[in-house]
Amino acid sequence: MSEHSVSVTEPAAHPHGMLQHHFTDMEQQKDAASMGMWVFLVTEIMFFGGMFAAYLVYRYWYYGAFVLGSTSLNIWFGAINTGVLICSSLTMAMAVHSAALGARKALIVFLILTMLLGGIFLGIKAKEYYDKYVEHHIPGENFKFDSMTMPDGSEREVHVDQGQAQIYFSLYFLLTGMHAIHMIIGEGLLTALLIMSWLRRFGSSYYTPVENIGLYWHFVDIVWIFLFPLLYLISRVHHV
């Protein structure tokens, strides 16, 4: 309980039809929705957890290949994208904040900002994927990891077991791909929020969807916070 925090003391005004028939009051409904969202996020943790388990095993087995694969990624794109997502988390938090205060215009502005930042993230990600495509680092028929572009633009020859390298890149594309799919879904959800707030569906007494989708967005951000060091920063100082 922070002393700075302001309790909303407004009486539980019932926006039209927002209380579903099977709940006793708005608080119960809100609590249920919030808890449901958290439980859902836990399933998301486990969903990514399966891939993290595979990552851990192969990183332990094929450390050398993982270091090389990681070094071939563009660390600056990764770092900038981390920053972009953190900004979008802030704007999302501000969107929820505005919704709680009933500030509709601010809510709309912050939702748009969040969507824009999400779009930037996906754009940079697409550029990274494209670079990997050009370099033949995408697992499959044409996979070939015999050279990489260094951050200073120079090319470097690589000797590594192709299978092990492919496993690294498979996990890279799986993890970031699943993350990107979550981002795209998030963008869709934000669009829905935007329309709903445009239509004045939210007020300071009912903004549960904003809150829950905010939770989802932050979760996706957290996944990236882990993906960045796990995929980009394995060991830049020790190129084998």
Partner: protein, 533 residues
């Protein structure tokens, strides 16, 4: 003009397909899983017929493999996992908590649609060309060597998984947030406890199988190497990830059954549950411990010896909560006043068969012995004693127990007792010989087998035919009873739960007045009127 209840307040297909009423959704699930059970049952019938002779005379090897895959996938993912939770849980859980509905009725309906979508896709994959990987999808066979619809089958399970997740999510939130005034945690019926524990598993485990099957599909489509030894991948990693879900899933398939038994026994013994808190916590313990024992499926799969020892040790830990339950059920009977109604017969059957299944589980959890019996018919017999002897018995027991509440009618007692007996005998004749077959070394998933195993196989097949008759009977008389059964009244068993305090069938909103709970669970100290006990 009859009283309005959930079955008659709206009519027509649309009122069912768009319903958000948990009771109707429960019935939708009941119809769909019965359908899938019949499909899986046909698979089992053909398997048993084929095994009548050692030479695989009925079907080809290819067809046989597709049949046991169909049987496994249908029974596990589309019958057992949703059986008690999605049917009886959906119907009874909100009633038992004194709630008007589950927390998210729309999501509840959505989860049924997802289930049907997954089920239809799976059925299509299994029938149009089939799948021959077994329900376990072991790599690299599933990813590289099988020429069948593996991706479609995996995708269908992926989809159906979301149904399971959403149901679990709904039950967790419902249990936390929707309890009637006065319904504290330790006044909740044990069925709620066990369904809650099941929901924990569904929510935490299912996503892992989902991503695992995605990886299998990706491996198959793009050869990404994660499970493929040709690229340096480890096929055993698949087994770890698969069993991380699929072992706890075994508890998804038995915990709710235990919950049903914990309702039936106090009711027909007219006694409060012996050691209520221990039984309640043992459900949670099973849910938690169930997640740390998956490695016992991998003892001979090439995992480290030390890891195998850890998993064996932990496996014994999970046996204890199950033992606690069995002992408490037995103790509840002591000095009770026991009536032998059909649900109680199923409960007796459950205790016996589950005990056999559980105790043989100790055999296979023992490292040195598992080496010999692993992947033989011993395993088949062991888990059928749990899944069929346990869960299907509990499911049928629960269906009979709540039938008067669901339909407002009684099932015909004589026929029901007869079929319970037939099922019990048929089951044992089917699966007991398989223990012996397994110890003698007959491997599972064999289309042909050495002739010396024939006698036991014929016995087993004979048992299966009796079992099939046993399962057909309830299908007929339960349907009959909807129209011709005796009117049950609100509380035919004189049972204690909240679900019996409302009318039968319950009104759309479950309770005319929100109940306030003051009694302990299973308070049978006072006499209740019980027309049918």
């Amino acid at each position: 003009m009859p009283r309005e209840h959930y079955l008659n307040h709206e009519f027509g297909i649309k009122s069912w397909l768009l319903t958000k009423d948990h009771k109707r959704i429960g019935i939708l699930y009941m119809l769909s899983i019965t359908f899938f059970f019949v499909i899986g049952g046909i698979g089992a019938t053909l398997i048993r017929l084929n095994l009548l002779t050692p030479y695989g005379t009925l079907v080809s090897a290819e067809t046989y493999n597709k049949l046991f895959t169909l049987h496994g996938i249908m029974m596990v993912f589309f019958f057992l996992v949703p059986s008690v939770p999605a049917v009886l849980g959906n119907f009874a859980l909100p009633l038992m908590l004194g709630a008007k509905d589950v927390a998210f009725p729309k999501i509840n309906l959505l989860s049924w649609y997802i289930f049907i979508a997954g089920g239809s896709l799976e059925l299509w994959a299994l029938i149009s060309g089939g799948v021959d990987t077994g329900w376990t999808f072991y790599t690299p066979f599933s990813t590289t060597f099988s020429n069948t619809n593996v991706i479609t089958a995996a995708l269908a399970i992926f989809i159906a998984g979301f149904s399971s997740i959403l149901t679990g999510l709904n039950f967790i939130v419902t249990t936390h947030r929707m309890r009637a005034p006065g319904m504290t945690w330790f006044k909740m019926p044990l069925f709620v406890w066990s369904t809650y524990a099941t929901a924990i598993i569904q929510v935490l485990g299912t996503p892992v199988i989902a991503i695992t099957l995605v990886l299998v599909a990706m491996e198959r489509a793009f050869h990404i190497g994660v499970f493929d030894p040709r690229w340096g991948g480890d096929p055993v990693l698949f087994q770890h990830m698969f069993w991380f879900y699929s072992h706890p899933a075994v508890y998804i398939m038995i915990l709710p059954g235990m919950g049903v038994i914990s309702e039936i026994i106090p009711c027909f013994a007219r006694k409060s549950m012996f050691g209520y808190k221990f039984v309640a916590f043992s459900s949670i313990a099973i849910a938690v411990f169930g997640f740390i024992v998956w490695g016992h499926h991998l003892f001979i799969a090439g995992i480290s010896v030390y890891s195998a020892m850890v998993f064996s040790f932990l496996s014994y830990a999970v046996a204890i909560p199950s033992a606690i339950k069995v002992f408490n059920w037995s103790a509840t009977l002591y000095k009770g006043s026991i009536s032998y109604r059909t649900p109680m017969l199923y409960a007796f059957g459950f205790i016996g068969l589950f005990t056999i299944g559980g105790l043989t589980g100790l055999f296979v959890a023992a490292l040195g012995l598992d080496v010999h019996v692993h992947d033989t018919y011993f395993i088949i017999a062991h888990f059928h004693y749990i899944m069929v002897g346990g869960m299907v018995m509990a499911y049928l027991g629960g269906i009979h127990y709540w039938w008067p509440k669901i339909t407002g009618r009684m099932y015909p007692e004589g026929w029901a007792k007869l079929s319970a007996l037939v099922i019990f005998l048929g089951f044992n004749l089917t699966f007991f010989p398989q223990f012996i077959l397994g110890y003698l070394g007959m491997p599972r998933r064999y289309h042909t087998y050495p002739p010396e195993f024939q006698v036991l196989n014929v016995l087993s097949s004979a048992g299966a035919s009796i079992l099939a008759v046993g399962y057909l009977l309830p299908l007929i008389y339960l349907l009959w009873s909807i129209r011709y059964g005796e009117v049950a009244g609100n509380n035919p068993w004189g049972a204690s739960g909240l679900e019996w305090q409302t009318t039968s069938p319950p009104p759309p909103d479950n309770f005319a007045v929100t109940p306030v709970v003051t009694e302990e669970a299973y308070d049978y100290s006072k006499e209740r009127e019980a027309a049918f006990v």
